[in-house]
Amino acid sequence: MKLNELMALMDAKSYTPTLMKDKDIHFAFCSDLMSDALVIMNSVKDPKILEHTILITGLATQQSIRTAEMLDVDVVLLVRGKIPSEKVILLAHEAQVMLLSTETTMFNASGILFEKGIRGVKYNIQW
């Protein structure tokens, strides 16, 4: 699925308009706990997977951007209408992470994506 299509499906807005590029998204990972994101996504051996992954979180602090940066995931979607602070947006630009936000809840956002064929990242997942 194209990122633009994904954004349209849940009426998402971008906080980093200058970084935006339309790319293919095939995988997603949901968590508010960044330790889980770090260890599970580090088990993925195929770097192509994380290139096409979106991190879905309700955590609107710098830590979700840092986590994405450590993993080479370049899209973060904030759910439940979370509004990032200026500092977070600045860091997203610095780390080249596309930062999106939607009013949709985490479960519903995941359901919408799952219906469209997006699959969740899990331990040692293969393409």
């Binding site: 260890v39 955590l59 602090t61 830590q63 979700s64």
Partner: protein, 141 residues
């Protein structure tokens, strides 16, 4: 190459800055496999967050060689009273502020152990020294 970064206790705005710096350095050097860079930096980030959450402040150093990396984290206390207990998955003494920042679920030390090739911890009430060593290996290809 050796570099040092200060880590400020309780400051979540700057938490992760040292690990970001390391990540960008390794990425630009183009000398390491991507999987290796990701596990080094994720482990570094967990350790940095630990210093921010649990200590009164400290610093980290990294030493980058051609196929090995050594990370050292030093803080000035209050120390880990029971390292074995702290290594248990899910055991945590973190406070609400850590949870609000997406950490503090008792995963950090375990994740560091899993991501690094060697983890050693020395701790007393006067401070903790955590060292992680990484070597490019089969798991990174």
């Amino acid at each position: 190459m050796v570099k040092e970064h200060q880590i400020i206790a309780g400051n979540f705005d700057l938490a992760g800055r040292a690990s970001s710096d390391l990540k960008r350095l390794l990425k630009h050097s183009a000398a390491y496999p991507r999987l290796f860079i990701n596990r080094v930096c994720s482990a570094s980030y967990e350790a940095e967050i630990n210093v921010v959450i649990h200590s009164v402040g400290g610093y980290m150093t990294y030493e980058v060689e051609s196929d090995t990396i050594e990370l050292n984290f030093y803080d000035d206390g209050p120390g880990i009273p029971d390292i074995e207990l702290a290594m248990k998955k899910g055991y945590s003494t973190a406070t609400q502020i850590a949870h609000l920042n997406g950490f503090g679920a008792g995963m950090g030390l375990n994740n560091m152990k899993e991501l690094s090739d060697r983890l050693t911890i020395h701790s007393s009430p006067r401070g903790t020294h955590l060292q992680m060593n990484f070597k490019v290996g089969e798991r990174d290809v």
